[in-house]
Symmetry: C2
Amino acid sequence: MTESAQRDTARNAARKPARRPPGRRPGPTETREAILASARELFADKGYDGASLRAIARGAGVDPALVHHFFGNKEGVFIAAMQFPVDPGELLPKIFGTRREDLGETMVRIFLSVWEMPERRAPILAMLRSAMTNERAAVMMREFVSSALFARAAELHGIPLLRIQAAAGQMIGVMILRYVLEVEPIASSTPDEIVELLAPTIQRHLS
Amino acid sequence: MTESAQRDTARNAARKPARRPPGRRPGPTETREAILASARELFADKGYDGASLRAIARGAGVDPALVHHFFGNKEGVFIAAMQFPVDPGELLPKIFGTRREDLGETMVRIFLSVWEMPERRAPILAMLRSAMTNERAAVMMREFVSSALFARAAELHGIPLLRIQAAAGQMIGVMILRYVLEVEPIASSTPDEIVELLAPTIQRHLS
DNA sequence: ACTAGAACTCATCATGTGTTGAATTTATGT
DNA sequence: ACATAAATTCAACACATGATGAGTTCTAGT
């Protein structure tokens, strides 16, 4: 696939209006992806309500009406930008192939591997930030998290849901302190320090 | 002109516009408090950016300009509504008067005692929700949490900051799952169940 | 009793929002 | 080569937002 569409398309938006003439652009269509990239970045940064369609369009170097043309309305953009914040099918095998006594460390490392990479963290942050202030987004997240994550994780090792949610709460809370609020010293700790800090707790919850 | 006589009869008191005549109202001033109450509720519900000055004014049965008159601008309202989300001076003695071996349970119970009462939970939720999408609010929360909570708690029992933040993360994460996202079954668990679930973890972190 | 100032509303401004319809240019199927 | 469809911009709507300045009514200090 063509990598000509870089992921930092949203970065070069600080320029002038850059009035393009109307009408279809020559060459294959790449704007749809650019819009989605810009949307993901802005939703991750400001949440659903804070990210405006116009800012998303600006980030993609595109007219706001084009966003509307592709996705119908703002919620359409959000849904398109959010499809699988993280692919469970990719992570669950790792968990399944782990000895019970190593579950804690494995889980923490998986979590960190996602959160440490900005482009993987973005959709999750977008979801979380949006769910905090927007009821519809909260419903989406609740359903995704419940059915796609908790339920499967529970059936996997036969661990009660409450325990799993306690473990998830531990991870989510620390991620918020570390990546959103950025309080020290936890924001500057190394991944290994986080693992050392949390693995025993997660292990406890999942036993 | 002709309808002005019948306009402000006592008939339309239950209506929405509720047009009050301009000028100061008789009696002692109670509007300032009403505005703050409305502000706290709305900030807790929608976060800083989601709560509009007009909605706050409407909630207090007051003209938007009055909010401006009292607090200067929106940030002024927020700051006035937020002073001490929770009073540390009130809670720390409880913590201090607890045996080290009971610290875990005590902490969880204190957290729950705050979060279970809607009017005590409101300012914290407002802070949290706002900090998730608004940078200035995030700074406020980071500073409050760092200096007023973590630092004091650390010096109290000589526990490393990282440990305290791990414990705080556990509590914050579970509170989000329980009160914001409202995922089951943790949203419907009794306080005692939450204590049983989390106390050992908090105890571990703080040892 | 008088007056300075506080409380309070109104009308309005400039800006930003999501959304829509029409116009223009290019790509695609025949 | 032609017609249809897709991609793209422009102009505009209707509405919400935070902010101001001016005017009206009350309270409080003298």
